[in-house]
Amino acid sequence: MRMILLKLLRLVVVLLVVSFLTFWFGKLIGGNNDLVAKMIPFSSEQEKDRVREQLGLDKPFFTQYGSWLTNFARGDFGELYTGTGKNVTSVPVSEIVAKRLPVSLELMLSAQLLALAVAVPLGVFSAYKANSKFDRGANMTMFGLLALPPFVVALVLAIYLGAQWQWLPTQSDLPNFPLNPLENWRYLLMPTISLALAQMAIYMRLLRSDMIATLQEDFITTAKAKGIPPHRVLFRHALRPSSLTLLTVAGLNVGALIGGAVVIERIFKVPGIGGQLAASILSGQFIQTQSIVLLIAVFYVVLNFAVDILYSVLDPRIRHARAIA
């Protein structure tokens, strides 16, 4: 318990520093300090002044940081300003996030599930038949997949499945992100595959090598000597102790990919959070940038924490050691 509290404390400290850096970096995108001019370049000076006042940009740096952070903690992520001339409009960033985050999460989870669904049986079987032709073939294939950048997969899929054979819709075919389950699924299939392939290779190779080590353990011999059939020995006895690395990595990956799938989101024009963030950095929307970056960082760090806890649930030895400590 003490361990968990200490970890929580560390987590908070890291997040505070991250939030400060995020805020500071966010201000840098403006370049010449005139953040508003970059944000709404085509508005009149009058309008810009109004916005400046609204944002409190004249206040001291730390005051701004403080109010930004408290607002963030309350769930107020600031506003996204757009418009030309007199018509400066603003949308709450939280609304944008609420719309886009689920899309990214859906993509991420489906990619993880697909990757695991292939990698786990493949890794287990490869380890069981270590050094067989099957194992070598699978390993070689996965090694090749590792060298295949996701965007290359995405582009190739987009060229053939999308553009040339027209089996699956590409972004240009659909004006809006489909909510109808079947359409949604067809739409997300290509981005999912693009993200899943490399993950699959990572998972398969990590699981295989852990599994091979586990299969050498004495307790596996015990299980065999008990007359337990091979599939049970593999999946009930060997998989769980072998999957700790895998699950850690998979869990952390969901976090890493929330912001890391930007390129794939961009290629398929998936309206996810990563694409939104990239666009907002490039267009100088500093408020939105700050909030989304911090949101992703929080998500990521908290997820790490959760995976850490989960890890001890999976391995009773660790739980035990911690209970003592």
Binding site: L11, P149, R205, A213, L277, A278
Partner: protein, 333 residues
């Protein structure tokens, strides 16, 4: 199961993942890729007993040499007419109505990788682009290696306050999504080759630092290091003479994989429109210009993509070979 040498990459990454559990360090995507390449020794040293390099290693070396050769001698190749000038544009055909037809052409004998819509030879663009992409890849990893490797070495050796401080620093850097951080730096500093290199060096620093730390940690606890310190050797000497030389081979293997990751990252940035300015040719920019033409001329995207794939494959393979060779030496001791 033969005992793994403690600083084969796999072991390092395992330590890392275990470390993760102890310190809430986020695992980043590049580390995972590296972990996966390093996991499972079956690729490069399948036949370990045989001396010399396998055919795969030779193919990888040949490919990398070919790239380096053409990149270095690109001006010569252009001036002697071996490859067309990347600036040269083939004249567009004019249709009956006087309208210029698209001149993007699929690969042919004259143009092995075809032409882009501006009538430029893609092969010669790819060679031109390799000059920048390879520089970005190698230089940023070199910088990251110097700074990150040094920090990691210290953090692994001085486990106490120094290690904790560096560890927290890395935590903070790693809490940002990698590509976003790079994009951000480039956006603030400007879209030049130097800035992209710098941005990717910043991103690769914490990744390499964590790996160096894990390796340094495992070596710092070895008997001979402890013995050297017990004999009164100064920290600097122990680090320089005992720890560093032992961490180097594994780090070299990981640096090769790092170059591959960075080359992909450059292309990723370009695809976001956030890499090197579009008028400068890089592999990423060539792909980026091809994206709108996906349907009619997929070769513009495919040609550089295949080159990137082969380069990454070759670098991963060489990283694996370095590790395998190193393991053999370790096993022979």
């Amino acid at each position: 199961m033969p005992e793994q040498s403690p600083d084969s990459g796999e072991e390092i990454v395992r330590t890392l993942v275990a470390d993760e559990q102890r310190h809430d360090l986020p695992a980043d995507e590049p580390s995972l890729l590296i972990a996966a390449v390093e996991a499972g020794p079956e690729i490069a040293h399948n036949r370990r007993r045989r001396k010399g390099l396998g055919i795969g290693a030779w193919l990888a070396i040949i490919w990398i040499s070919l790239l380096l050769f053409s990149a270095i001698f690109q001006p010569l190749l252009v001036s002697t007419g071996v490859i067309p000038d990347p600036e040269a544009q083939e004249l567009p055909e004019i249709s009956g109505t006087g309208e210029a037809l698209v001149v993007a052409q699929p690969p042919s004998l004259g143009h092995l990788m075809g032409l882009n819509p501006r009538g430029e030879d893609i092969l010669s663009l790819v060679i031109e682009g390799s000059r920048r992409s390879l520089v970005i890849g190698f230089v940023s990893v070199f910088l990251g290696f110097m700074v990150g490797g040094f920090l990691g070495l210290l953090a692994g050796y001085f486990k106490g306050r120094t290690g904790g401080f560096i560890g927290s620093l890395l935590d903070i850097l790693l809490a940002f999504p990698q590509l976003i951080l790079a994009l951000f730096v480039v956006e603030v500093l400007g879209h030049t080759v130097t800035n992209v290199t710098f941005a990717l060096a910043i991103v690769s620093t914490p990744v390499l630092a964590r790996i160096a730390r894990a390796s340094s940690l495992s070596w710092s606890e070895r008997e001979f290091v402890v013995a050297a310190r017990a004999q009164g050797a100064k920290h600097r000497r122990v680090l320089w003479r005992e720890v560093l030389p032992n961490t180097l081979p594994a780090m070299l293997s990981i640096a090769l994989l790092g170059v591959a990751v960075v080359i992909v990252a450059e292309a990723g940035l370009a695809l976001l429109g956030a890499g090197v300015a579009p008028d400068l040719v890089t592999w990423g920019n060539i792909i980026q210009t091809g994206v709108p033409e996906l349907k009619d001329s997929p070769h513009i995207v495919l040609a550089p993509s295949i080159v990137i794939f082969l380069t990454v494959l070759a670098l991963n393979y060489l990283g694996d070979v370095v590790r395998a060779r190193f393991d053999v030496r370790e096993a022979a001791l």
